[in-house]
């Protein structure tokens, strides 16, 4: 039993990576029109899913601009 708990603990530590968005970075991103509004809506909610969604949106904007 003890061995199983250690494994679980180790797995949680490796997977529990929070998405942190740098404010300076986000200010530099130009999200026109409704994309900007979507970004604002995502950043207004402080949870993992919304932070990750915002990060994805940054990535997509950067991809499209390239």
């Amino acid at each position: 039993v003890r061995h199983g708990e250690e494994l679980l603990s180790l797995q949680l530590e490796t997977d529990d990576v929070a998405t942190v968005i740098d404010e300076a970075d986000s200010a530099a991103v130009d999200a026109p029109g409704f994309l900007g509004e979507a970004l604002d809506a995502l950043l207004a909610v402080d949870d993992d899913a919304h932070r990750e969604a915002a990060r994805l949106l940054y990535g997509m904007l950067a991809e499209v601009r390239r």
């Binding site: 061995h3 797995q11 029109g33 409704f34 809506a41 995502l42 899913a49 997509m60 991809e63 499209v64």
Partner: protein, 892 residues
């Protein structure tokens, strides 16, 4: 832009036509088909959008058929800045363009360039301008037959850009453009990696999650198995010890059960002996009761017989007394009955005397009535005779009061006529101075005679003179005639009345009146005496006389009526008393007879009872024998009770009822212990088998491997879920923002058109697609589906009429949005040919409202449908351009 004036010359068959002073709101051009309305629109197009230079076919087609003159067109308009411009163009023959403004005149290319700048169009090719070159204008100028084309298709890219720019400026919304669309597509792709189109987890995501759940189930299963193997050995030891302990306890309990069984047998024997003693006691008690009952019955019957003999004696005495009273009552009754009969005979005799006395009194009364009736009849007959005599006298005097009044009137008339004649006559007074004769009548001196002359007359005064007197002239004759006529009338009336004069007539009338009074007096007397005539009186007399004849006239010595009545009353009172006494005697006799009957019955009953009791005593034994039997039975019962008490003590000494219960409880306890011992033994066998089965190696290692696998799978599933959730959140946020932007973008067009849509299509609203384009009509309330969004009929699904109305409507709305407070000319060239009159009427209302914002030019062959448009500017377009050289209507 506002159009003010259009003029054409030699343009497609039109020699010359001028339309000026156009309204800034509504202009109505009307005329039949082929009258040249569309030519007018064509001329505007060439004036504002086509270059004048060049000889391309589409320009040569503008020439009138068979003519050589250059087609020319002039247009005056005001631009958005408020500056008025005048453009003149000539085509084919020495083509040229002149554009003149307030301070400037431009020619040819410069003029064409300025026009393109004002109208926002592009230069076309040699074959002319294409719709894509004309910006918004193809949308606003609806050519004949094009109103039914979807606005989405009618919007060129330029028009769409212009609309988009205008909407962005009006709504403050920044269109994300191509970047926005590209990002939307990426977001949709990322979403589709994890989710289905209906928002459920897709197969891949579901597989990862299900794999984690399966690994966890396998881990838990192994864990349970391992835990189970750990516990089995401990359980085996515990259960074996328990089974050994239970063996010893079962043995001890078996000894206890055997002892309890021995005690229970002894108690059962004692109980059986006790039950026999109980039955013997009960039998002896019943025999005692039986002997006591027989003895008691003998004693009670003896007492009842003695009482019955006493009552019989009493009843015999009462019967003798009753018989004696009966004889007495019968004697009293006979005496009373005889007295009553004698009283009745006396009463009958008294009543007869009263009858005779009353008949005598009636005869006397009838005799008086007979005399009265005879007297009355005699008087009545005398009165009747008088009435008849007076009637005869009156018949001899026929003169009535009216006849006399008529005679009096005629006498008055005659007297008045005579008076008037006398008044008209001359009065001549002759006084003699000396003796003289007047008409032969001598007159002494100093004498005087007076003459009344009623008719012309000549008087002779002796021999001396004649005097002619003519009185009254002609009137005297008339008056004399009247007098003679009245006199004749009077004489005729007197003759008719058979009287010599008025006085006689009055005397006769007086006599008649007196006779009438006498007749009435007699008649009144008669009516008093014989009110109903003579006949009833005579009948009544006959009845009285008949009654008198019927009553015997015995002159016997009778008392007076009062004495007879007193004697009769006394006799009847005595009779009542005697009858009452007889009834009383009858009643007393009845009562005594009843009492005697009762006494005889009671005597018989008591005799029967004595006989019955004596018979019963004969069936019972002797009293002393019965008493001895009672004593014997009581002794036997006492012995039986003593014997039973000895058996009861023996039963209690053996444990009583409790001994049996103790045996049952002890046996049950032994059974329970035995069951537990068997179960423990079986568990021991089962656990030993399980230990042998699980002795294989590796269960622990398998469990540990499963733990590691489950952790890895769960981690992968959680990560996949987090990724999927982030994509879902992203997709929702982007789509929500996009829809919001689209709604805000579409807002101005919708606002511009919604009121008009309600007029034309009540109950419907605009349907927009995802890009905000108008695609058709949404009718809410028909079907609640897709979140209550209603049913959408796309442009293509609408009928031909509805399509052209809808097309015009949306064009007006877009024009209103694009105008942004300025005015733009909208041209509708027979744009509603497929619409019925009712819909055209509604469309007129829409156009009237649209003209508040736009300059609307309507060209129609149905001007009667547009009366309610009340266009301030209306002109008829006449002529057949292309067929005739001159269209007179164009000379307006």
């Amino acid at each position: 832009v506002i159009l003010e004036r259009i003029a054409v010359r030699n343009f497609r068959g039109v020699r010359e036509a001028v339309f000026d002073g156009l309204s800034t709101k509504l202009c109505l051009f009307y005329g039949p088909n082929e009258s040249g309305k569309s030519t007018l629109v064509e001329a505007l197009h060439f004036a504002l959008f086509e270059r004048a230079a060049g000889q391309a076919q589409h320009k040569r087609d503008l020439q009138t058929w068979g003519g050589t003159e250059a087609p020319e067109v002039e247009v005056t308009f005001v631009d958005d800045a408020g500056e008025r411009w005048h453009v003149e163009k000539r085509f084919v023959v020495q083509p040229r363009t002149v554009l003149s403004g307030r301070n400037v005149v431009l020619n040819d290319d410069a003029a064409e360039g300025k026009l393109r700048a004002i109208f926002g169009t592009r230069e076309g090719t040699n074959r002319g301008v294409a719709p894509t070159d004309l910006g918004i204008w193809p949308l606003l100028w609806v050519r004949q037959g094009t109103s039914g084309i979807a606005t989405k298709d009618a919007l060129t890219a330029e028009a769409r850009d212009a609309l988009s720019t205008t909407l962005a400026a009006q709504t403050g919304v920044v269109a994300a453009g191509p970047i926005g669309q590209a990002v939307r597509e990426l977001v949709a792709r990322a979403y589709a990696e994890h989710w289905t189109s209906t928002g459920r987890e897709n197969r891949e995501l579901r597989a990862v999650v299900e794999a984690a759940e399966a690994a966890e189930r396998a881990r838990d299963d192994l864990h349970e198995r391992w835990l189970a193997a750990q516990g089995i050995a401990d359980e085996l030891v515990r259960r074996r010890d328990e089974a050994d302990g239970l063996d010893a306890r079962v043995r001890d309990q078996q000894v206890v059960v055997r002892e309890a069984a021995a005690r229970a047998d002894a108690a059962r024997d004692a109980r059986r002996a006790l039950e026999v003693a109980d039955r013997e006691v009960e039998l002896a008690r019943q025999q005692v009761e039986q002997a006591e009952r027989a003895h008691a019955e003998r004693v009670a019957t003896d007492e009842a017989l003695a009482e019955s003999v006493r009552r019989h004696d009493v009843a015999g005495q009462a019967a003798a007394e009753a018989e004696r009273r009966l004889a007495e009552a019968d004697a009293r009754r006979r005496t009373a009955r005889a007295a009553a009969d004698a009283a009745e005979q006396r009463a009958v005799a008294a009543r007869r005397v009263v009858d005779r006395v009353q008949r005598r009194a009636e005869r006397e009364r009838l005799q008086v009535e007979q005399a009265d009736l005879r007297s009355t009849i005699a008087q009545a007959e005398a009165a009747e005779k008088g009435v008849r005599a007076h009637a005869d006298s009156l018949a001899a005097l026929p003169l009535r009061r009216t006849d006399v009044e008529k005679l009096e009137h005629l006498v008055q008339l005659r007297d008045r006529a005579r008076d008037r004649l006398e008044a008209a006559s001359a009065r001549v007074v002759v006084t003699a101075v000396a003796p003289v004769s007047v008409d032969g009548q001598p007159l002494a001196a100093g004498d005087t005679i007076e003459l009344v002359v009623a008719a012309p007359r000549t008087l002779a005064l002796g021999d001396v003179a004649t005097i002619r007197i003519s009185p009254g002239g002609a009137d005297v004759d008339v008056l004399a005639g009247q007098l003679a006529r009245h006199g004749a009338d009077l004489a005729a009336a007197l003759a008719a009345a058979d009287v010599p004069d008025l006085a006689t007539a009055r005397a006769r009338l007086e006599q008649r009146l007196r006779l009438e009074r006498l007749r009435e007096e007699e008649a009144a007397k008669l009516s008093v005496l014989a009110k109903d005539g003579m006949h009833p009186l005579r009948e009544r007399l006959a009845r009285v006389e008949a009654r008198l004849a019927a009553i015997d006239a015995h002159d016997e010595a009778l008392p007076s009526v009062d004495e007879a009545l007193v004697a009769k009353d006394a006799a009847e009172a005595a009779l009542v008393v005697a009858q009452a006494e007889a009834r009383t005697a009858d009643e007393q006799l009845g009562k005594v007879q009843e009492a005697a009957y009762e006494a005889r019955g009671e005597l018989r009953r008591q005799a029967d009872e004595v006989a019955r009791l004596r018979g019963r005593l004969d069936g019972l034994g002797d009293a002393s024998v019965l008493a001895a039997a009672v004593e014997s039975a009581r002794k036997v019962h006492g012995d039986a009770v003593v014997a039973r008490q000895a058996h009861a003590r023996a039963f209690q000494a053996a444990g009583g009822d409790e001994a049996e219960k103790v045996l049952v409880d002890m046996q049950a306890a032994l059974d329970r212990l035995d069951v537990r011992r068997r179960e423990a033994r079986e568990d021991v066998v089962r656990l030993q088998a399980a230990i042998e089965e699980r002795s294989e190696a590796g269960l622990y290692d398998q469990w540990q491997d499963a733990v590691a696998e489950a952790i890895a799978r769960r981690g992968a599933a959680d990560a996949a879920r987090r990724r999927a959730e982030a994509r879902r959140v992203l997709h929702e946020a982007v789509e929500r923002a996009y829809r919001a932007m689209r709604d805000r973008f579409a807002g101005p067009v919708r606002d511009a058109v919604e009121d008009w849509v309600r007029i034309l299509f009540p109950g419907s609203s605009l349907a927009l697609d995802d890009d905000g384009d108008v695609i058709g009509l949404r009718t809410v309330g028909v079907e609640r589906s897709a979140g209550g969004a209603g049913v959408v009929e796309t442009f293509d699904q609408l009928s031909g009429g509805a399509r052209e109305q809808f097309g015009v409507l949306v064009r007006l709305g877009i024009a209103k949005v694009l105008a942004e407070g300025r005015r733009l000319p909208v041209i509708l060239d027979d744009a509603l040919v497929n619409s019925d009159a009712e819909r055209r009427g509604r469309m007129v209302e829409v156009l009237r409202r649209a003209s508040e914002h736009l300059q609307v030019l309507v060209l129609t062959c149905h001007d009667e449908d547009f009366d309610r448009l009340a266009a301030p500017w209306q002109r008829e377009v006449r002529g057949r351009p292309g067929r005739r050289a001159v269209a007179s209507g164009f000379d307006a």
